[in-house]
Symmetry: C2
């Protein structure tokens, strides 16, 4: 009778767990999107990742560090999507098409995208480290647009995209793909 009896629900046996830090950052992202930065606590992230509370302070110096890394990861992923969509375009017409698709499928289509962006903006308003993340993200978006449009147009278009997504998601009647296309083409006309 030397087997260890596990009372109350299966103990977690993982001791050495490389990549746990990564999983914690992903868990943090999930919590931010689901519950908001305000509800993103050490305990909540640990629960989401099924990891003991002490593991948080072991892997991160502070909660701010977790937030910064999480937002950085998200911003990079979002910028990658921009690059992909626009990198596939060959001429101006397909670039316009890429922008419409981007807005429809990647920005409005996955509702977390806007939540993450707005959460980041608010957090950045009080936290310089996050402001840098925001600015790097915006720069990458603009750069992607500049592959097909002149700098001034790229900047203005970038702003238009953000405004369209914001108003579409927050509005009671979201914009249809046709309305989005109309707005973009009108601006680039």
């Amino acid at each position: 009778m030397c087997t260890v009896v596990r009372m109350s629900g299966e103990r977690r046996p993982r001791r050495h767990d490389p990549g746990r830090r990564d999983r914690l950052i992903d868990a943090a992202l999930h919590v931010i999107a689901e519950r908001g930065v305000a509800a993103t606590t050490h305990r909540e992230i640990a629960r989401a990742a099924d990891v003991p509370l002490g593991s948080m302070t072991y892997h991160f110096a502070s909660l701010d560090e977790v937030l910064a890394e999480a937002f950085t990861r998200h911003a990079n992923a979002a910028a990658d999507i921009f690059d992909e969509r626009l990198g596939a375009a060959t001429d101006r017409a397909s670039a316009v098409e890429a922008v419409v698709t981007l807005i429809r499928d990647d920005l409005i289509g996955s509702p977390n995208e806007l939540v993450m962006a707005v959460e980041l903006y608010v957090a950045a308003a009080r936290n310089p480290a996050l402001r840098a993340v925001t600015q790097a993200w915006m720069q990458r978006s603009r750069d992607a647009l500049q592959r097909h449009f002149d700098p001034t147009t790229a900047r203005e278009l970038d702003a238009l995209i953000e405004g369209l997504v914001l108003h579409s998601v927050l509005s009671t009647d979201p914009m249809t793909p046709d309305q989005i296309r109309h707005a973009v083409e009108r601006f680039l006309r």
Copy 2:
């Protein structure tokens, strides 16, 4: 010797204080703009209004109620500005001018304006009452624009304005008035 001695710093004598509720809402607005919704607590608001903590629970059923009233007040004030600026315009050219002035002076010019908007968007993401406030605000902006532009244009222009303000304020190099004018005129051309 029957005078009351006030030790430790002048007691607040105001007992009957009509309009205190109003002042508390204003104090809440101030705290939100200054420190963010996350730091907006009963105690912080009471301190800002120089009022005892118990006064908060006396005047408001919950902290959410305070936030809702504060954001409602702010949204109305912001929409009033929209109305004013655009109401003064007589023809299309002066309407465009009004939009540019609005963006430059009232939206980018007073930096709290964007902070309040973004704080509201985040709060609204988790709170249906605030979502209604957001939507009413957007509706009033759009209505104001519709006094001079057709509904489709008004909606798209509204989104463009929001995007321009957002990107201008968050960017390291804010847009100049000329750049703003350029973007707006380009869209309305």
